[in-house]
């Protein structure tokens, strides 16, 4: 990386944000809140990883996320309620993958617009999720969950350790997969479909596989969330797409280069950073009813940063460099 003024400034800016976050964490948030925020961040990192596959790798918006997250919650909570928490998580991953296949098939085989296909799957899942849970919410109070099982092995910080291991495994698997022949075909499908078909790759099949993996991860996240919070709610998926997108966009501020490793790290650290920003806002007294509004605003701000930057540089030029013309490169 060349050390010109621009990169130095952006590095300084990033360092500043990091220091700011750390100071906030140290001074404002209690140790238990910090640990809990990390845990939640890791649970939602799975969600961000899933959305990374559809929105970034395949470059297709998948709006079924809210439905598949709840699907994971429903499958996981029902199985845990009946005494099979681990089976619940595995089945949730499978169910999410299947739901993803449906969206993928709608797009590739039935020529449904991607946005509409996602909405269709989400709407259909709404009924299916209600059917699976049979009532709006279920508590896992005094039931075994993945976490209560792990408590025996990991001691005091069992929740953090469990979440950490799960995300580490998921991230490492994803990284390895995306470097295989199949994974590279998937990436190329999102990058240049003409090239993919001319290279004898079945782009339709790649898209379906991509959606399956993406939604398996989203459902996985929902499954973990249900057992983490020992409760399941048929509305828990609402707004998850925006939360996941916000995480990715925040992460991309720190991991700018478009490599696979950077993408994965951006999703994971973005999800954690998002939770901390949220925790800080609540600490300042934000009503928890506003969390969805809050995540919507974060997405808007993060997406519009380049536009705002642009606006300010032209403004700066107009005011301070009169007569120099607008074509000067900063």
């Amino acid at each position: 990386m060349k050390l010109n003024r621009k990169t130095v400034i952006s590095l300084l800016l990033k360092a500043l944000i990091l220091v700011f976050l750390i100071v906030i964490i140290n001074t404002r948030l209690s140790e238990t809140v910090v640990e809990g925020t990390f845990e939640k961040g890791l649970v939602f990192a799975l969600l961000a990883l899933g959305i990374f596959i559809s929105f970034r790798i395949l470059d297709i918006p998948d709006l079924s996320v809210d439905g598949t997250f709840t699907l994971g919650v429903a499958v996981s909570v029902m199985n845990a309620f009946n005494g099979n928490p681990i089976q619940g998580i595995l089945l949730a991953i499978l169910a999410g993958g299947l739901a993803g296949c449906v969206t993928g098939v709608l797009i590739t085989k039935f020529n449904v617009q991607p946005i509409l296909a996602g909405i269709i799957t989400m709407t259909a899942l709404y009924s299916i999720n209600l059917k699976i849970m049979d009532r709006p919410n279920i508590s896992l109070y005094r039931k075994d969950t993945l976490f209560t099982i792990m408590e025996k092995y990991f001691g005091a910080h069992y929740k953090l350790i469990t979440c950490g291991i799960v995300v580490l495994i998921a991230g490492a698997l994803m990284f390895t997969f995306l470097k295989t022949q199949a994974g590279m075909s998937l990436r190329a499908t999102g990058d240049n479909e003409y090239m993919v078909r001319a290279s004898s790759i079945n782009s339709d099949r790649m898209k379906i596989i991509g959606f399956a993996i993406a939604n398996a991860l989203v459902s996985f996240s929902g499954a973990m969330y249900a057992q983490y919070s020992s409760a399941g709610d048929t509305n828990s998926g609402t707004g998850m797409l925006v939360v996941g997108l916000a995480s990715i966009i925040i992460g991309e501020i720190f991991f700018t280069r478009h490599t696979i490793l950077n993408g994965i790290l951006a999703a994971v650290f973005g999800a954690i950073a998002y939770r901390f920003i949220l925790a800080f806002a609540m600490n300042l007294g934000m009503d928890s009813n506003y969390t969805k509004l809050f995540s919507a605003i974060i997405v808007v701000i993060a997406i519009s940063i380049p536009a705002i930057k642009n606006y300010f540089t032209t403004f700066y030029k107009r005011v301070f460099k009169k007569g120099n013309g607008g074509a000067v490169d900063a």
Binding site: T180, Q181, R187, D191, R197
Partner: protein, 262 residues
């Protein structure tokens, strides 16, 4: 080796925009042929390529490759044996993936994409050697995303990708048209070298009549969805750009554009 029988394609059939892009095309390509195709804009040259590659379904007729009927074979399945270059250099490569990743994808053409590593250690040396044959210095930039390369570099890389697993048939659709004259010449020389070395059966569309006569062993002239002239052998040896223009205006209803004189 490649045979087209009565192939027709009509766009927007039964509407005011109906357009017969191919009309009963018959073509017999022999093993080792290097055929050049010329014709005015809208003559149906690209449509012919797309019919052969499977990008467009045909409305009538049949297509055979190596004696097998491939008329209803999907595009990606045909691609196991057909290599292709587009006019637009951006179409042939994945911009966010590195040079070696692009080559890795091309190198597994025709095989099932498995969970094996996308680039194997032992392939890297082979890719490096192939890249150095292009003589563009790309062998030292194997980890560079392809999006950072120039149009000419990308097109040369696409040529390598289309031929790294020797295809049965190579389709080139004005693959040098978007490049500056010097780069175009270089890519054209590369093309000829690779085609000759592996004796690849090739069909090349060009707007450059000089090139159409200079390269290959046979020239097709298309007009309004039909092949109006097939020039080969002695006739082709004695052919000049002027004579060809004269022949064209005698045989076609429209006239060739000035662009083709270049």
């Amino acid at each position: 080796m490649l045979k087209l029988e009565n192939v027709s394609i009509t766009f927007n059939a039964n509407t005011v925009n109906e357009r017969k892009a191919l009309r009963n095309i018959n073509l017999d390509v022999k093993d080792g042929d290097f055929i050049t195709v010329i014709g005015s804009n809208g003559a149906g040259k690209s449509t012919l390529m797309n019919a052969i590659s499977g990008a467009y379904p045909i409305d009538e007729g049949s297509i055979y490759l190596d004696g097998k009927n491939i008329t209803s074979l999907k595009e990606h399945k045909r691609a196991t044996r057909i290599g292709r270059l587009f006019q637009d250099p951006l179409r042939g490569t994945a911009p966010n993936m590195t040079i070696e990743e692009n080559l890795g994808l091309a190198y597994s053409r025709g095989k099932r994409r498995s969970l094996m590593p996308g680039i194997r250690k032992k392939d890297i040396g082979f890719f490096r050697e192939k890249l150095s044959e292009l003589d563009l210095g790309l062998e030292d930039r194997m980890k560079t995303p392809v999006g950072l390369l120039s149009g000419g570099q990308r097109q040369a890389l696409t040529l390598l990708m289309a031929t790294i697993v020797t295809p049965k048939l190579l389709l080139l659709d004005e693959h040098t048209a978007a490049l500056d004259p010097k780069t175009a010449e270089k890519v054209m020389e590369l093309t000829e070298r690779i085609v000759k070395k592996d004796n690849i059966t090739t069909i090349m569309i060009t707007h450059n009549i000089n090139n159409a006569l200079k390269y290959g062993n046979k020239t097709l002239v298309m007009s309004q969805g039909k092949i109006i002239l097939e020039i080969e052998g002695e006739e082709r040896k004695n052919m000049t750009v002027e004579k060809l223009m004269k022949l064209y205006s005698d045989n076609a209803d429209d006239s060739m554009s000035d662009k083709m004189l270049l």
